[in-house]
Symmetry: C2
Subunit: 276 residues, 2 copies
């Protein structure tokens, strides 16, 4: 099988490394737009060859869109004349808006996937051959896919060591919001709060107190995350409201010096132990 990867940043570059490592692809082709990315991809030897869109379509059995979620949708018109045996797959963090915008001509080819792994790092240099190993991939609305495409996508994710979860795209977006998009909004807010208030010297000296972990994902790509917030807007607004209820609650309990109630509320959060 030949695999073509559109976008060779953290997700795409890591996929290129993984399919090579496990001998899944005969050839790995890459497509990138910026000259800077192209140079990095070649220096890192991420793909066998960088090609244009036509060659991607001519030579690949599987084309993976590893680009920001808005770009996925704007890239699709390039693929309308794809062979019926060529699989298209995306790796975006939102699913419902993407699925709704897949043109009918390629709906059965297009497998909507969200590998739940990542890092705050981005770009070709951030790619790792073990990013996907042991992690979960959510596959959405597979009933819309031909067996060939569904099975090919499933096999690739299994072969690179992923655990499969199946969900409809609407439910995916709700869950992904609470487990990923809301935490990112919070982390960006915390990082901005602390950097406005604290000097760099204190941040470096005192970072071990919880801030390092809580602010790590605030280093994530603004371009990518703006698109995710845009596409999952309603769920994000709802989740922020629920989170804000808790922030108001903890503030009120501290203000009113209701420390027994505060401890009970912390104990509820502690039950996370039993799950994670």
């Amino acid at each position: 099988m030949n695999i073509g990867i559109v976008g060779l940043g953290l997700m795409g570059g890591s996929l290129a490394k993984a399919v090579k490592k496990y001998g899944i692809a005969k050839k790995v082709y890459g497509y990138a737009r910026s000259e800077k990315s192209k140079k990095e991809i070649l220096e890192l030897n991420l793909v066998d060859e960088l090609v244009d869109i036509q060659r991607l379509k001519d030579e690949c059995d599987l084309i993976v869109l590893a680009i920001p979620v808005d770009n996925i949708i704007s890239f699709l018109p390039n693929l309308l004349d794809i062979d019926k045996n060529t699989t298209i797959m995306d790796l975006g963090s939102t699913k419902e808006f993407i699925v709704k915008n897949i043109p009918n001509e390629i709906r059965s080819n297009f497998v909507a996937a969200h590998p739940m792994c990542g890092s705050e790092k981005f770009g070709p240099k951030a790619s790792m051959d073990n990013l996907y190993e042991g992690k979960t991939v959510v596959l959405c609305d597979l009933e819309a896919n031909d067996e060939l495409h569904k099975n090919r996508a499933i096999k690739v994710f299994q072969d690179i060591g992923m655990r499969l979860v199946f969900m409809n795209s609407h439910n995916h977006d709700v869950h992904a919001c609470y487990m990923s998009h809301l935490p990112h909004a919070i982390s960006y807010s915390l990082a901005n709060t602390v950097m406005n208030h604290e000097d760099p010297k204190s941040i470096i000296a005192l970072a071990a107190g919880g801030f390092t972990d809580m602010s790590r994902i605030a280093k994530s790509s603004p371009n990518m995350w703006t698109d995710i917030f845009k596409q999952n807007r309603e769920n994000l607004l709802n989740s922020i409201d629920l989170f804000e209820d808790h922030m108001k609650k903890v503030r009120q309990m501290v203000e009113d010096e209701e420390y027994e109630k505060l401890e009970e509320w912390m104990k509820k959060a502690n039950t996370l132990h039993e799950i994670l």
Copy 2:
């Protein structure tokens, strides 16, 4: 030197292991109240002997209070008749309230310290011999200490591999609030939000999306953290207000679909790269 440690949970137990590992103490004595703790401490062989308060005072050159911040203050009356050559040290996460409550009789003996390390885990079993290595300890208001006590405390922290930072207790509490106490309040809120909304199955399946890191410290001890929030109440309320300004801002930008502004705001958070 003989060292006595009051409370042998994560901080105290790890200190016991570290001073043994580096051969700093001739004898390590422990003091614990609950039978459960005593049993665990003995099983884990954390100290040479568990003793009562009188023997701590009779036999130790250094007594370390590794207990929740409110308990530190209530323990002090036990130490009023301490020998003038015995050093007392605390490891609490707040400093100003503690320092203000040190009785005059022992003020020059008492070194106020906050090692900026830790883990969400607590209790004797959580102790690790390398918890302190390479981490920062903040030492506060040292001008109130006799040279003997100041130098002894500094030497112990250096010998277990810590980096020293000096600060007055007021400034410590402001910085520790932003770098540690606020992140804990946020993490507890996020954990409660997600556990109210999501089922355990989804939490386990999708936890890699940022939630794991952001919720880790929500597993921390409610007893210990209630006391910290209580002692650093005013700073915490102020920091929550500043954080809430940012949460309102991100919510508003998403609601108003001001995505360019949102990306700029994320880029500001991204500058954290340059510091951490």
